[in-house]
């Protein structure tokens, strides 16, 4: 059972890493726009390459 003396501080360190990532994300503006990126990922440029030439007369 002595293993928990190492595991629990390890767990807290991992959690702290998560907190640091969260702080970085907030400071980096990751939560500024909660809507745009969800749509932007669907807007790839393949659509233009495939659709472009056909539409032009």
């Amino acid at each position: 059972m002595d293993v928990i003396f190492g595991l629990i501080p390890g767990m807290i360190l991992l959690g702290l890493a998560g907190v640091l990532i969260f702080f970085w994300a907030v400071r980096n503006g990751q939560y500024e726009d909660m809507e745009g990126p969800a749509h932007r990922i669907l807007n790839d440029d393949d659509m233009d390459k495939m659709g472009g030439p056909e539409r032009k007369p």
Partner: protein
């Protein structure tokens, strides 16, 4: 030609393309219809940039676009170094970066279009749209592209953009919200990790645990709880302490006492190596309270931006004329009294002054709320921020900078916002009693048990402090506000300031602005009088519409719109001419026609018959306008235009009166118009011919009489009054400034939503009251248990979340209650 294709929709925006402004154009090799030439232009630009797939993207969204706003004419001013200095930041590699506020972004397709179109411009190195906040981050090479070119590109695509400095606009608020988010995130991390420790300790309580491990878990709990208490809970500790010093007890004090005693007791237990610890309670408690605070902060308005929007009304540059008559573009703050400035058509007037040459119509709607442009001739006074119409004006500056009417309004708003007493919260009034009683009970418990042994005394008295858990008390207000705000938003009542909800239920006097709030704020055809037997109403309107459809004057638009809404076809008019301040003339089917006021008819040599004269006087006494159509040497008829009352205005006033509320109407119009309104709407107080500062003073006077004042307004001139009132409501169709100054915005400018807004305020207050009672009832039951020293960790773990859940559950019930209210409204 238009009404035979009733289902035609605009190729660009999807709105019906059947109005008078509808047009056709060849785009991408095919003939398309558009609702207006603006949409056609935008569509051409999009096609020419090779971005046609915008439309494919758009159709996958449910949104439709709106027709593009008029392109501003003064974009060049943004290229001036002095002006850019205010909002542009210089990047180390010579590029520049600016934040733009973009109007008209609806959906992801807009984001795509703007980013694509701007990134294709040579010299633009970064264009990033924030969809949620309608912002654009722009970086560009100043040597390759001018900022005005970028803005013009945006305008061509149908988006209006204004540069702004985010630091000035919302730096303060955003930074404090961000700090709150950090604190909440950290407390969340602590609470979640603490849960493992708690589970281990609970399991240990039931099935036995070796003292060595138990001690270890206690120390781990201490390690997590310490930073959570002092970092995440720091603001509660400092604000509680400050409140204690100033003898002003707020909600923060019981929170601080609760958290601190729990923490110190647990620390003492840990050091002495025995008993139970409550570190988990400390962290969870702080986390939950922070979640409530964060949600509440999101529902709070950003007070700074009202002044910012007002500043935007002022142009940034002016064309100054030097002694030799040379034009020179300078920054507006360099203008001084006595300078001569030139104002081109469509430009904003840069300073207060007098006209010394030229004449033109000036739209003062943003200052006075008056929708009709005023004719300004020699020696007429003009105000900064108002918009010049068709003519060129030369103006002698009398007041510039901080002395203009606009600047005075900005100042008034700032003063009113600063001096406005915050709505005193119900919870804040209870808190001092709560704190005193809890402390007394804890002391009594300690003294009682001291007679037996110190350990039990300490345990029981801290249990009193811990179990009184201000958690439910602290959550009762934020939860009610968050739920009510959400429910209201879905019903079209946008609550910008959650704190105003409690104020709404205390209102005793309602003050309305007249133009734009009680009335629609623009002229509509109210009556048509025909005095030629060969014509009927429709024919008269057709002729008038044919003459007016190409003009942009508000009266012309109103007449054309009326004809359109009746489905009339316009005849082609030729030789059209407008006479400023008089009317228009033109020929239809070879017959010359005049349409305008009495002065135009006098010039045309047409006598006005008695019946029309009487009608004119009657209409003008109610602030309406009668436009007369003349042809064949006599008057054919008259069209009366009036600013009409909004739907439901009368019913609303009656129901407010029935509830015993006082009603006052404020207006900048003449007292004659006010009197007319009083006759229409029944008993009320009316104050007419008011300046913006007078409106604020009226509100203050009412407040001195002990009334709790609700103000509804829509114009910039209402802004000081809105800021002054206890609770203020703006119309969606109103100016941005009025919305920024207000606590609530009625979407769709529907006055009938006002009772809903008042009701949701009442429901919110009732729920807050019930929640406070619930948490007090909880305390009444559990404090005796704690005083008897019966509290075990398991009991605490079950009882404390239960009280919070009760409070949250009750707040969610607001949704049901409001649904029931909406149903009774519909039936009634």
């Amino acid at each position: 030609m238009s009404s035979d294709k009733p289902n035609v929709v605009c190729h660009h925006c999807g709105l019906p393309a059947t109005g008078a402004a509808a047009c056709e154009g060849v785009v991408a090799g095919g003939l398309q219809r558009f609702c207006c030439s603006g949409c056609l232009e935008v569509c051409r630009v999009i096609h020419d940039s090779g971005l046609d797939s915008f439309y494919t993207r758009l159709r996958t969204q449910e949104n439709t676009l709106a027709p593009p706003p008029d392109a501003p004419s003064d974009l060049d001013q943004y290229d001036l170094e002095e002006v850019q200095h205010e909002f542009v930041s210089q990047l180390p590699d010579g590029r520049r970066s600016a934040h733009l506020l973009v109007e008209g972004i609806h959906c992801a397709a807009c984001v795509w279009l703007i980013e694509k179109a701007l990134n294709n411009l040579p010299g633009v190195t970064r264009a990033e749209v924030n969809l949620a906040r309608q912002r654009l981050l722009l970086e560009w090479q100043p040597q390759q592209v001018a900022l005005s070119a970028v803005l013009r590109r945006l305008a061509a695509l149908g988006y209006a953009a204004v540069p702004f400095d985010p630091e000035v606009a919302e730096g303060q608020v955003q930074r404090s919200n961000r700090r709150l988010l950090f604190r909440m995130g950290f407390a969340g991390f602590g609470a979640m990790n603490m849960m493992w420790i708690s589970i281990a300790l609970y399991a240990g309580t039931f099935s036995g645990i070796e003292a060595e491990y138990k001690q270890f878990f206690h120390w781990v709990g201490f390690a997590i709880a310490t930073p959570v208490l002092f970092y995440s809970g720091g603001p509660f500790l400092t604000s509680g302490w400050r409140g204690l010093m100033l003898r002003h007890l707020t909600m923060d004090l019981p929170i601080a006492i609760g958290a601190l005693t729990t923490y110190l007791y647990s620390l003492w237990r840990t050091l002495h190596g025995g008993g139970e610890v409550y570190f988990d309670v400390v962290t969870t408690f702080i986390f939950v309270i922070l979640v409530g605070r964060y949600l509440e902060a999101m529902a709070r308005r950003n007070a700074a931006s009202a002044a910012l929007h007002l500043m935007e009304l002022q142009p940034r540059t002016a064309l100054r004329l030097d002694a030799s008559g040379q034009e020179e573009r300078i920054a507006v703050r360099k203008l001084a009294a006595g300078d001569h400035v030139l104002v081109r058509p469509g430009d904003k007037i840069p300073a207060d002054g007098r006209v010394i040459a030229g004449d033109s119509h000036v739209n003062e709607a943003m200052l006075t709320g008056e929708s009709q442009p005023l004719h300004k001739t020699l020696q007429a006074r003009v105000s900064a921020g108002t918009v010049n119409g068709e003519g060129v004006l030369k103006i002698q500056v009398e007041q510039a900078g901080s002395d203009t009417v606009l600047a005075r309004i900005i100042h008034l708003v700032e003063v009113a916002q600063g001096s406005k007493a915050r709505v005193q919260r119900l919870a804040d009034r209870i808190v001092p009693w709560f704190v005193v009683v809890t402390l007394l009970l804890a002391a009594a418990t300690f003294l009682f048990w001291m007679r037996f042994d110190f350990d039990t005394a300490l345990m029981a008295s801290t249990a009193v402090l811990i179990i009184t858990c201000p958690c439910a008390l602290g959550m009762s207000t934020p939860m009610s506000i968050v739920v009510s705000t959400g429910v209201a938003a879905r019903a079209g009542v946008l609550i910008r300031n959650g704190e105003a909800l409690e104020g709404l239920s205390r209102i005793t006097h309602v003050v309305f602005d007249k133009t734009g709030t009680l009335t629609e704020g623009n002229m509509r055809v109210s009556r048509i009088q025909v005095c030629d037997t060969t014509l009927d109403e429709a024919q008269l309107l057709t002729l008038a519409g044919g003459l007016e459809r190409h003009f942009t004057h508000p009266l012309a638009r109103a007449i054309a719109q009326e004809a359109e809404s009746r489905g009339l076809h316009f005849p082609a008019a030729e030789q059209l001419r407008a006479y400023g301040g008089l009317g228009v003339c033109g020929t239809i089917d070879g017959e010359p026609l005049w349409l305008g006021n009495a002065r135009l008819l006098a010039q045309a040599g047409v006598a006005i018959p008695e019946e029309i004269h009487a009608l004119r006087q009657q209409v003008e006494s109610s602030m309406g306008v009668a436009v007369m159509l003349a042809g064949r040497g006599r008057v054919l008829g008259a069209i009366c235009l009036e600013d009409q009352l909004r739907d439901g205005a009368r019913v609303l006033l009656d129901s407010l009166r029935a509830q015993g509320m006082g009603i006052t109407i404020l207006t900048g119009d003449s007292s004659r118009a006010a009197l007319h309104l009083q006759q229409q709407l029944g008993e009320m107080r009316v104050a007419a011919e008011l300046l913006p500062e007078d409106k604020a003073r009226e509100i203050e006077a009412l407040q001195h009489q002990g009334e709790c004042v609700l103000m509804l307004g829509d114009g910039v001139n209402d802004a000081p009054a809105l800021a002054r009132a206890d609770v203020s409501i703006a119309m969606e169709s109103g100016t941005d400034v009025s919305m920024e100054c207000s606590d609530v915005v009625l979407m769709g400018s529907d006055l009938r939503k006002l009772p809903y807004a008042i009701e949701i305020g009442r429901q919110a207050l009732r729920t807050i009251r019930q929640n406070l009672l619930l948490s007090l009832a909880y305390n009444v039951i559990l404090i005796p248990v704690a005083m008897a020293a019966w509290v075990t960790p398991v009991l605490a773990a079950i009882a404390m979340p239960l009280s919070s859940l009760l409070v949250i559950g009750n707040a969610i019930l607001i949704r049901q209650r409001m649904r029931r209210f909406a149903e009774t409204q519909k039936v009634g």
